[in-house]
């Protein structure tokens, strides 16, 4: 029983990391209908920026803060420079552009920092604390706390602020948003900046666990896709719930199903994606779209 609960808890921690990258994917998708395949690589690149700052002697928290700001600006600039020119083109064109970004950022990170695997500091002490009969790692609790904080802040931004209202309006109907005078293009860029910063959090959280390398986010991105698909791809809350479900089921499958074990865990998100698309394509929190033709 304890093993089950412990596995679920550590599943929640990895699920929270998937959730944060999934939220980044959803932030961009709901406002632009673009699935950003480069989201993971943007997060990886941001994490290298933090690593570089720590290497140069900056304190961990200063490096993290500066990285989040840099990621925000970077996301904003990427949208203006790379995505803007293909706005309104067929989906396939935009998908190819984000895949191109993926390859470009991956190669650039390899060029700048080499493909050598490096350690990355964790802000959470590697100790366990006892909760009754359970022993829970502080990093597990820390990751859950950070992601809760980020998602909570996003919720407040969207639900309680004027900017959040404007972002929701743009996501719902860009044409009507223009008619009330909103500069939609800049709001879309802002969405990319926000998504890049949230993605950077997931990179910084995952790096101490998976170690830092240009390919670090590959599997995380697949788990995040599963989480976002499960959540319906347009609901940030859905992405969080989806992330936690994916994390827990991945961990439980790895522990209890011998045929899967630690090596084949990556099968789990792919099965989830296929199952959701077959049974409920709009996910748990999405709305079925009806299109007249």
């Amino acid at each position: 029983m304890d093993l089950l609960i412990q596995q679920m808890l550590s599943g929640l921690a990895s699920g929270a990391i998937y959730a944060s990258l999934a939220v980044a994917l959803v932030l961009i998708y709901r406002s632009t209908d673009i699935v950003n395949f480069a989201q993971g690589e943007m997060a990886m690149f941001s994490t290298y920026v933090a690593w570089q700052m720590v290497q140069s002697g900056a304190s961990y928290w200063l490096a993290v803060g500066a990285t989040l700001i840099a990621a925000f600006v970077g996301g904003l600039v990427l949208e203006r420079v790379v995505i803007r020119p293909v706005e309104g083109r067929p989906e396939l064109v935009i998908v190819i552009v984000t895949i191109g970004l993926f390859i470009l950022i991956n190669a650039l990170a390899g060029f700048l920092w080499s493909f050598q695997v490096r350690g990355f500091p964790s802000p959470f002490p590697a100790r366990n604390i006892a909760l009754g009969t359970l022993r829970v790692g502080l990093p597990t609790l820390g990751i859950l706390a950070v992601v809760t904080l980020v998602v909570g802040a996003l919720f407040l931004l969207f639900a309680k602020t004027r900017l959040g209202l404007v972002l929701r309006a743009v996501a719902e109907d860009p044409g009507s948003a223009r008619l009330v005078g909103i500069r939609v293009g800049w709001m879309l860029a802002l969405g990319w900046g926000l998504a890049a910063a949230v993605g950077a959090v997931s990179g910084i959280l995952v790096a101490p666990v998976l170690f830092l390398s240009p390919n670090m986010m590959l599997s995380v991105l697949i788990f995040a896709f599963a989480a976002a698909t499960l959540g319906g791809f347009e609901s940030p809350l859905g992405a969080v719930v989806g992330g936690l479900i994916v994390g827990v089921s991945e961990n439980l499958a790895g522990t209890y199903i011998d045929a899967i074990g630690a090596d084949l865990k990556i099968v789990v998100p792919i099965l989830i994606i296929v199952a959701v698309l077959l049974v409920r394509p709009h996910g748990l929190f999405g709305h079925a779209r009806v299109e007249r033709v």
């Binding site: 404007v166 929701r168 309006a169 719902e172 109907d173 009507s176 223009r178 008619l179 009330v180």
Partner: protein, 243 residues
């Protein structure tokens, strides 16, 4: 305001279209400040495209001068910033946002001023049903209520000119009559110039001081509502009776 005053909106040789397809063929329109101008015409005559051209939503050639400034070629956002509010056909409300959120977005360009709250209350006076439903999702309103919301949201901009595209579309006759009375009231009380595109020529002429008839993308006739009613061809085609 007389029709001899310099027009607040002067359209010259306007061509508009969607990509390579041109649906408007060089039209001239003058609108004096404070007027209600009706644009009449059959389905597909180019009425909606004309309005969309005014707010930069379709590609255009020709000149659109509003209050002396050239609008042709500007983005929709910057045209709206000059005080032109457009209520599109099909209303264009944000159906997943509440009534109050829709109205606050209407005042987006005015920042956070306290008078935005006063305007909100004034809209609830024009349209009491919106006040009762301020926390409901716009998508849960009836067609007539959504049309009222769309007009109220446009007024929250405190526009100098209001473009209304088929406000009667899909509404019951009784609802439509009430709506047109409110539109006439708004024209007087808010001192806002109104360009009204409408298939229901009777209703439109009742509140307009000038009218244009579009046929196949060209202006077929210009005049006062009385001119329109007296013209046999117009009366039989759009008003349903011959003289």
């Amino acid at each position: 305001m007389t029709a001899h005053a310099a027009p607040v909106l002067a359209v010259r040789g306007l061509h508009a279209g969607y990509g390579p397809i041109e649906v408007r063929h060089g039209i001239d329109v003058d609108v004096a400040a404070g007027q209600v101008v009706a644009i009449l015409g059959a389905n597909g005559a180019g009425k909606t495209t004309t309005l969309r051209a005014l707010t930069g939503e379709v590609s255009t050639r020709g000149s659109i001068r509003f209050d002396g400034a050239e609008l042709a070629g500007r983005s929709t956002e910057s045209i709206v910033r000059r005080g032109i509010a457009h209520v599109p056909q099909g209303r264009g409300t944000f159906v997943n946002l509440t009534v109050a959120e829709n109205l606050r977005l209407g005042a987006y360009l005015r920042g956070r001023g306290a008078d935005v709250g006063d305007d909100l209350l004034r809209m609830y006076e024009y349209f009491p049903v919106l006040g009762e439903r301020q926390d409901q999702r716009a998508g849960s309103l009836s067609g007539g209520e959504q049309q009222m919301l769309a007009i109220a949201r446009a007024l929250m901009l405190r526009p100098r000119m209001l473009l209304l595209d088929e406000p009667s579309l899909g509404l019951a006759p009784l609802v439509t009559r009430v709506l047109f009375e409110i539109i006439a009231t708004i024209n007087r009380q808010e001192e806002v110039t109104i360009v009204l595109v409408e298939q229901n020529a009777h209703l439109a002429l009742a509140i307009a001081s000038a009218a244009y008839v579009l046929e196949a993308g060209r202006i077929a006739m210009t005049g006062t509502p009385d001119d329109m009613r007296r013209d046999e061809a117009i009366a039989s085609a759009y008003l349903g009776y011959g003289v």
